[in-house]
């Protein structure tokens, strides 16, 4: 649980028919000063336009996150019940992870009130104090909390780490496991993921996995995107030397990875030469012919894969562009310079070589590398 989102105080605020907005309970007691509350109360017990929305207000070095609730019914004095259960943090704290919890709690309390008058009943309302204490303690200590409210209701809340949104997975991307595949607990994952697992080997691209595992293409894409989100796989696309990291452990890792099975360990010198031999425009074929000796003990596919995973090589894609107007190249809409060979091959079912031949012979097409 990051120290960033430490909750300093939890408060429960209500609108009293004659006193107006006030803090009914807060843990720890007396945390929110009279002055602070006066400053922000209009964002805690709000006008109708701001009700039922998550509101964060910063003042006097504190951040208050709350969700003002309004339940309308003629049984309440002034025809409505207004309350707000919120968190107080330091003004500089990162509080995104707390927001869904505040919203969830406001929903829980609303339901409890609608079902059994939990809040409007003075007796049951007092139960809020131990609830708020427990929430404060456990969310700060463990990042999660389970609270039994009464015989039939329990509240579960958990702080979820925010991760960056994963990239869109294309049909021609190749997923590869970042960690050892054996450590992967198959049963934790959904059925689709389980079905495609065997086909993720760092060489098969998405479309191929879909075909061989007999799983619909979009499902494969989504499953792999999910694995990407959790950092279980990474996508590689292949080839060009950018940079070689001078790092002992990376070197060790590399040699272990690229050595052909059954052979003596490859030498760093050979591997280094191979990587350096990859210049813009080099194809794997070129590499194999030029460095046959170095590749004696090195699996070139693994070599490339390792380089991609570690980010020191990058693949150059070929993008065909139609150079003149009104020609009859087929399929025309793909030759805009935005679609790579990979994509075109995938979409049209042509092989790399076929596409290459076709485009070589077409005088109207120029091929760009990027």
């Amino acid at each position: 649980m990051g120290s960033n989102s430490r909750i300093e105080c939890i408060f429960f605020s209500e609108f009293h028919p004659t006193l107006g907005p006030k803090i009914t309970y807060q843990v720890p007691e007396e945390y929110i000063s009279r002055e602070l509350f006066d400053t922000v109360q209009v964002y805690i017990i709000t006008k109708p336009e701001l009700q039922n929305k998550l509101i964060t207000v910063t003042a006097m070095e504190k951040k208050l996150i709350g969700c003002p609730v309004c339940i309308e019914h003629k049984k309440y004095s002034r025809n409505a019940l207004l309350f707000n259960l919120g968190f107080v943090c330091d003004a500089r704290a990162k509080t995104c992870a707390l927001e869904p919890i505040v919203k969830k709690l406001s929903g829980y309390l609303t339901t409890l009130e609608l079902e059994s008058g939990f809040i409007s009943n003075e007796e049951s309302k007092q139960k809020l104090v131990p609830i708020m204490s427990t929430l404060l303690e456990e969310l700060n200590a463990k990042g999660e909390c389970t609270l039994p409210i009464d015989e039939s209701n329990t509240i579960h809340v958990k702080l979820i780490d925010q991760r960056k949104d994963p990239l869109i997975v294309q049909e021609y991307d190749v997923p590869v496991f970042t960690e050892c595949k054996d450590e992967f607990f198959r049963s934790q994952w959904d059925l689709t993921t389980q079905q495609i697992l065997a086909y993720i080997d760092g060489f098969r691209h998405i479309q191929k996995i879909s075909a061989e595992a007999d799983v619909e293409l979009n499902l494969v894409r989504i499953a792999v995107q999910n694995l990407l989100y959790y950092g279980v796989v990474t996508l590689v696309s292949i080839f060009q030397v950018q940079n070689l990291i001078d790092n002992k452990s990376v070197q060790e890792e590399c040699l272990l990875y690229v050595t052909k099975p059954g052979q003596k360990r490859a030498s760093l010198r050979d591997v280094f030469q191979l990587y350096c031999g990859l210049s813009p425009g080099t194809t794997v074929r070129d590499l194999c012919s030029r460095y046959a000796q170095q590749l004696h003990r090195v699996d070139e596919r693994k070599l490339i894969q390792f380089g991609l995973m570690k980010g020191f090589i990058r693949r150059l894609q070929k993008y065909p562009v139609k150079a003149t107007r009104g020609d009859r190249s087929r399929p025309p809409q793909l030759y805009t310079g935005c679609h790579s060979y990979d994509e075109i091959c995938c979409k049209t079912g042509m092989s790399y070589r076929e596409l290459d031949e076709r485009l070589e012979n077409d005088p109207n097409i120029i091929v760009c590398w990027k």
Partner: protein, 278 residues
């Protein structure tokens, strides 16, 4: 021309209810569903042409009141034309009420010393529509810029057509904004009663998707004519001389109409009459 009107008073004393009934065509029953006013609710009511009433309906709970006298003091009490303070006749906390009222007066004296102050005593259970309308009529009367001129013209008109009494109503709220009578009448509350009767009738008409235009009521003692007058007023003419035929009165009203419209326009924006509810 904008006039700021502060509506203050104890929580639950009926400020928002009154405002809704007078300016938003609520009926008393509707107001039972209103929620508490949070802090200050602002509304603009266009009244008699370019006169805009800037209503500040201030929530009366303790926390809000305290704020009005401290952090929001200048904002609330500056540039006030009229302060309407509402007392709840059934209040059990008279001392507290007086304390707040006094604080209001102090703040007004400091920030808007020329403001007019009205006190309304509200009784929540009884539907005292007459009293309410009378109160608001008086208040609004104070705000109309050309009221003397309106009255003198109305008097001339009444005398020319030999009417017993002539009333001018604001079109949407049906508050009496001007009147002339040539002799004492028995019922001092007749204005409010009439306002009320017509408002109810208007409401019934609107339920049938019809709009109220005019009315003529006759018996052996009098004839009363209620009709649209200028673009923002209605007129009511009472004739007790039975020899004067309706047609004559109606023609007179029609001719006067043009005059009053012109009257409004001649003096510029102050006099143009148009009511719009927001």
């Amino acid at each position: 021309m904008k006039k700021k009107v502060l509506l203050m008073g104890k929580s639950g004393s009926g400020k928002t209810s009154m405002r809704s009934i007078i300016f938003a065509n609520y009926i008393a029953r509707d107001t039972r569903r209103l929620g508490a006013t949070i802090d200050v609710e602002h509304s603009h009511v266009r009244f008699l042409g370019n006169l805009v009433l800037n209503l500040w309906d201030c929530g009366g709970q303790d926390t809000f009141m305290e704020n009005y006298f401290t952090s929001q003091r200048d904002n609330i009490f500056r540039n006030v034309e009229v302060l309407i303070y509402v007392f709840d006749v059934e209040s059990r906390e008279l001392e507290k009420d007086m304390h707040y009222y006094q604080s209001c007066l102090e703040a007004i004296l400091q920030n808007s010393p020329d403001a007019k102050v009205f006190c309304l005593v509200h009784k929540m259970d009884l539907v005292q529509e007459d009293q309410r309308d009378l109160a608001w009529s008086s208040i609004v009367y104070q705000l109309i810029p050309n009221v003397q001129q309106l009255e003198s013209n109305l008097r001339n008109f009444a005398q020319i057509i030999e009417a017993d009494e002539v009333l001018l109503f604001e079109r949407a709220t049906f508050l009496v904004i001007s009147h002339y009578q040539c002799k004492e009448q028995r019922d001092a509350h007749r204005f409010e009663k009439i306002s009320n009767i017509i408002k109810q009738f208007k409401l019934s008409c609107s339920k049938l998707a019809a709009s109220f235009q005019s009315m003529e009521v006759r018996n052996s003692n009098f004839a009363a004519f209620i009709d649209v007058f200028t673009s923002n007023t209605y007129v009511m003419v009472i004739m007790s001389d039975p020899s004067i035929p309706s047609a004559a009165t109606l023609i007179n009203i029609r001719n006067a109409r043009k005059h009053f419209e012109k009257l409004e326009r001649v003096d510029g924006p102050k006099h143009s009459l148009h009511m719009r509810m927001r």
